[in-house]
Structures are given as structure tokens and as C-alpha cells.
């Protein structure tokens, strides 16, 4: 199993013994790693049947759930960290999902592909919807329903009074970007955030 760079980063941000909820946990590799190396109490959520089955085989507890509609299953402050990895662009109401996440845990970790990445801009300039490693779908079969940039996402964070604790731009190959931080809206393929809520959304 190859370990994604963002998984290594996320893992390094999580304290041993934390209660971790991963929304859209896929095959559960990140949670498995957190349970094995950091003794975390893990819970996953996944909709895709094949990934779900893999997660079960990996010994990851996983709930089939529509995160747009059913997150109220989780109680306030019942986890230490909630993760939403590369899924925010595919939920119907990102704002509602983010509000739930900060209700469920004091710390949330979010990553999202950047639709304003320069290659995506080039794609659009050439007259086609962009297809890249971060956006691997054709326009007609994509699960993505929102096409936000890093700037757009950070605007939403501040509207929701979410303060950015950590922000790591990632290159198109998924590594930590070596480009200047300030250029992330143009140079990052995706961005990974650790956030806390400033004021009480609760």
C-alpha cells in the first residue's frame, strides 16, 4: 500500500489516542494507519460499495451514509478530529457539511482540489473542462458538483469563522508544493487545511 503524502501530513497532525472521524474514508487506509501507529479510536464513513468493502476488510469500522443529509447521527464534540479529504467539492452543500464538522469536533482537516490551478485554467483556455490527476473525471461523469478555487474556499472558511491553523498547498503529483505559498491559488493542485472554529458556531 503506497502512503499518500497528504495522509502522512494528516497523520503527523493528529495526537496519539485521538478520536478520529473520516468522512469519505475510501478503503480506510488513513484510519487504519492512525489506529495502528497512533492508537486512535477510528470511525469511517463511505458511500462507494467497493471502497466500503475494502475498508471492512481492513478492519475499519465504516458507516454507509449520505454526508449531505445524515451527519446529525454524530453528537456534538464526540470526536477530537473530523477529516474530509478531497470530498468537499462533491457534496451538495459544503457550508452545511463544514458546520457539522466543527460541531462534531474542535479540529477539522479538509482538503480540496483547486479548480484555479494553472493547468486547469489552461484546460479551460483551450476550450475544454480540465482533466488532471486531482480532477480525473470527464465533465459528464464527475462526482464533483462545485468548482471552487483555493481563494474561494478560504473565503468560505472566513465566512464560517474557521481559522486556518495549518495550510499546505500540494502539487499536481500530490507532494508538498515547492512554489511560493502566496501563489497557491495558481500553483497548487490541491490544498490541505487544519482548521478550528473561532467563534461558537455551536
Amino acid at each position: 500500500m503506497t502512503i499518500r503524502v497528504d495522509f502522512s501530513l494528516i497523520s503527523s497532525w493528529i495526537a496519539p489516542g485521538s478520536r478520529v472521524l473520516d468522512l469519505g474514508c475510501g478503503q480506510g487506509s488513513l484510519l487504519r494507519r492512525l489506529a495502528d501507529t497512533k492508537d486512535c479510536r477510528i470511525q469511517g464513513v463511505e458511500m462507494d460499495p467497493d471502497s466500503f468493502l475494502e475498508a471492512v476488510g481492513n478492519g475499519v469500522p465504516v458507516i454507509e451514509m449520505n454526508i449531505d443529509k445524515e451527519l446529525d447521527l454524530f453528537c456534538d464534540d464526540s470526536y477530537d478530529v473530523v477529516i474530509l479529504s478531497r470530498t468537499l467539492q462533491a457534496v451538495r452543500r459544503p457550508e452545511t457539511v463544514l458546520k457539522h464538522m466543527v460541531r462534531i469536533a474542535p479540529t477539522i482537516i479538509v482538503s480540496m482540489p483547486n479548480f484555479a490551478y494553472w493547468r486547469n485554467r489552461m484546460g479551460l483556455m483551450s476550450g475544454h473542462a480540465p482533466v488532471s490527476k486531482d480532477l480525473p473525471y470527464s465533465w459528464h461523469d464527475s462526482p464533483n458538483v462545485h468548482f471552487g478555487s483555493v481563494s474561494d474556499l478560504e473565503t468560505l472558511f472566513s465566512q464560517l469563522s474557521l481559522s486556518v491553523v495549518k495550510c499546505v498547498p500540494l502539487s499536481a503529483t500530490g507532494r508538498v508544493s515547492k512554489m511560493p505559498f502566496a501563489s497557491r491559488n495558481l500553483s497548487a493542485g490541491a490544498v490541505l487545511y487544519q482548521l478550528r472554529n473561532d467563534t461558537s458556531l455551536r
Binding site: 470511525q43 468493502l53 471492512v56 481492513n58 478492519g59 458507516i63 454507509e64 447521527l73 454524530f74 464526540s78
Partner: protein, 380 residues
């Protein structure tokens, strides 16, 4: 996969006397009996470390005969799609135990058993059963078999409710729990169906206030009606339509009040075969247990499992309206809140509640993956 013969599954059918007058069985809701005998079947082989035992809890009208074909039978056990060589509950790997439950009528002590004190059947003097009573007897059977800890406890419908009660009251008995097409408390609609079924039985003159065995009467009409109605609730509109449509039983419809549509004939056949194998008193006692069951009603209900969280699989079926997905989701929420590592899947299946008894690839893959992983964690 074809059903295997008993020899191929290494099947044993046994009876165990688990409570006697020296140590009577005390019912949760009051009352006691001096003799509890349990019929059970086992499949596969218990390994040396005794770590591969899976306990199966059956549903309302199930019995100990869960898998394989007995000599002379035309049909295999009630969960043969799930249990057997190479099946999700793989008898080549696991040792499987399935008893008939307390109050049943297939070899285990129930209301139609002889009351040694009177020399007559217990009838309605049999104490009212509680879900925990089943668990108490199950635990005694596990001890009788010399097993300290089960790999898994698994069941569907009333069987799933037993698993939930067991997992909440003695989670240390098992490494994993599988609760399928069940509920932590029945809906009003579900209780209503059971109420009508019991009314049909108890209002039948042949019921004789529960002493039909002595009076040599039998509430066949009531039990038939109960079964026919229940059977409809275990399937779905689509499943019945696909199977029968509006087809006539014979070549043409012949308007009148007889059995004319294919579905009517099918229900009648279901009722007839049911009369051969099931007892009216067991039906009313066992169905009543479900009505009163409310697993999370006490604030302390989750205390033990919170202290001893075990991987728990909850599984429902999209077309099941008798034990709907929302009831399973409620269990998931309660268990998750207690810190239980819970896995939940709503399997897309069109056959209603009975889906849990059928061979559905996604369902079987899920059970297989969950059990195999549980076993890996135990032997690690």
C-alpha cells in the same frame, strides 16, 4: 452453491439440559421453570484454541437446523445460503452453533412442553419471555460447550435483536457482533402486525385458552392467518408482483371466493407448511418478546458495551419495510454514541425483510469480509 449434506458440514444435532430443579431457570419478568432443554446443531470443527466459534441466533419461526440437508428432507436449513463450506459463514474455517431458542417448539423447552409439575403442557402458564432470557440460555449453552469467547454472534430479525441484547449485556462474550435486519425497538406499525397475528391465534376457538394439546383441538385457522399476513410483511410489493403478478392459479380466473389468484394459492401453501412445523403458543410467546424489547430504554443500556466496545456490524435492506433501514440507523446512532466501532450498510435488495435469508452478492461479500477480518484480528 448447492446445499451440502450433513456429513459434509460435519453436522451434529444435540440436546442439552441447561437448567434443572437443582438450579431452575428464572425469567427476567418473573416466574421460573425447573427444566430447560435446548436443541442445537453445530457445523464445522472447533479449533484447538477455541477461537473460531460463531453463534447463530434464529428469527421468530426459525430453529436449530440452519444449514445443510438432512436425510430425507427436500429443503436445506433456513440459513443455508449463509452457512456452509465456502459460504460467508464458512464451515471450513469456523465452528458454527445454532440453537432453537427458549420458548420455541423445535426441541427446546417452550410453552407447549410438558410442565413436570402438572403433567400437562405449560400453555399460558409459561412465564412471559424477555430478550434477556434468550441471552441467558445462549450463554449457558456456550459455557456447556466449553467455549470462553465467541468469535462472533450473528442473527437476523428477532435473531438480530438477541445479538443486540447480548452485545449490550455481555459484550465480553464475543469479539464481534452482527445485527441484521433487526431493530432496537419495534415501530408501532410492527407491533400492530404482531398484534393482529396473535389475535388471529388466540381468538380461534381451537386455541382453547392455550391448552389445545390437552383438549385435542388446534388453532390451525388462526395460525394460518397469522402466517399468511406475516409472510406478506416479510416480502415487498415488487417481489410479489414479479413472482405472481395477477396470474390466475389455474388456466383462467373463475370469479368467486375460492383461491383463484396465484398469490392466494402461494399464501395458502405457506400457511399449510407452517402448520406442520410451528406451534401457536410459541408464535405468540416469541412475537410478544419483540414487542416489549426496547434495548436502549435504560440510561445505563450502553454502559457495558461502552466499557468493552466490540466491532459491530449492522445491516439492513432497502426494501425491508417491516424492519426498516431507519430502525437499523437508530441502532447505529446509539452504538456509535457509546463508542462502539460500528459498520453499517443498507443493502440494495428488492425482496423486503426476507432479503436477509437470500443469497445477495453484496450482502454475502460484506458478511464474509467482516467475519474474516474479525478472525484475523483474533488469531493475530
Amino acid at each position: 452453491m448447492a446445499a451440502k449434506s450433513f456429513e459434509e458440514l460435519n453436522t451434529c444435532t444435540s440436546d442439552a439440559v441447561l437448567f434443572t430443579s437443582d438450579e431452575p431457570f428464572h425469567f427476567v419478568r418473573g416466574g421460573q421453570i425447573d427444566h430447560v432443554q435446548v436443541r442445537y446443531e453445530t457445523y464445522g470443527t472447533l479449533n484447538e484454541a477455541k477461537t473460531n466459534a460463531i453463534f447463530i441466533c434464529h428469527a421468530l419461526t426459525g430453529d436449530a437446523h440452519a444449514a445443510g440437508i438432512r436425510q430425507g428432507d427436500t429443503k436445506p436449513g433456513w440459513w443455508d445460503s449463509m452457512i456452509g463450506s465456502g459460504k460467508p459463514v464458512d464451515t471450513d474455517r469456523f465452528f458454527v452453533i445454532c440453537p432453537n431458542i427458549l420458548g420455541g417448539c423445535q426441541g427446546t423447552t417452550g410453552p407447549s412442553s410438558l410442565n413436570p409439575a402438572t403433567g400437562q403442557s405449560y400453555g399460558l402458564e409459561f412465564p412471559i419471555l424477555d430478550m434477556q432470557d434468550f441471552v441467558t440460555v445462549h450463554r449457558r449453552l456456550v459455557a456447556h460447550l466449553g467455549i470462553d469467547k465467541l468469535l462472533a454472534v450473528m442473527g437476523g430479525s428477532l435473531g438480530g435483536m438477541q445479538v443486540l441484547q447480548w452485545a449490550l449485556s455481555a459484550p465480553q462474550d464475543m469479539h464481534a457482533a452482527l445485527i441484521i435486519a433487526a431493530s432496537s425497538r419495534l415501530s408501532a406499525q410492527n407491533i400492530a402486525f404482531s398484534a393482529v397475528a396473535r389475535e388471529a391465534i388466540m381468538r380461534d376457538a381451537g386455541f382453547s385458552d392455550g391448552h389445545y394439546l390437552e383438549k385435542d383441538t388446534s388453532p390451525d385457522t388462526g395460525l394460518s392467518i397469522a402466517r399468511m399476513m406475516a409472510h406478506i410483511t416479510y416480502t415487498s410489493e415488487g417481489a410479489l408482483w414479479n413472482k405472481f403478478g395477477r396470474d390466475p392459479q389455474n388456466e383462467d380466473l373463475t370469479p368467486g371466493f375460492g383461491v383463484d389468484f396465484a398469490i392466494e394459492s402461494y399464501l395458502q401453501h405457506q400457511a399449510e407448511t407452517f402448520l406442520d412445523r410451528f406451534d401457536a403458543l410459541s408464535y405468540i410467546y416469541l412475537s410478544r418478546v419483540m414487542d416489549y424489547f426496547d434495548a436502549f430504554s435504560s440510561p445505563q443500556a450502553s454502559a457495558k458495551i461502552a466499557e468493552h466496545p466490540i466491532p459491530t456490524l449492522v445491516c439492513s435492506f432497502t426494501s425491508d419495510w417491516r424492519f426498516s433501514s431507519s430502525q437499523s440507523k437508530r441502532m447505529v446512532a446509539r452504538l456509535e454514541r457509546a463508542g462502539v466501532p460500528v459498520t453499517y450498510r443498507d443493502i440494495d435488495a428488492g425482496v423486503g425483510h426476507d432479503s436477509f435469508l437470500l443469497s445477495i452478492p453484496q450482502y454475502e461479500d460484506l458478511i464474509r469480509a467482516f467475519l474474516n477480518r474479525s478472525f484475523e484480528e483474533v488469531v493475530r
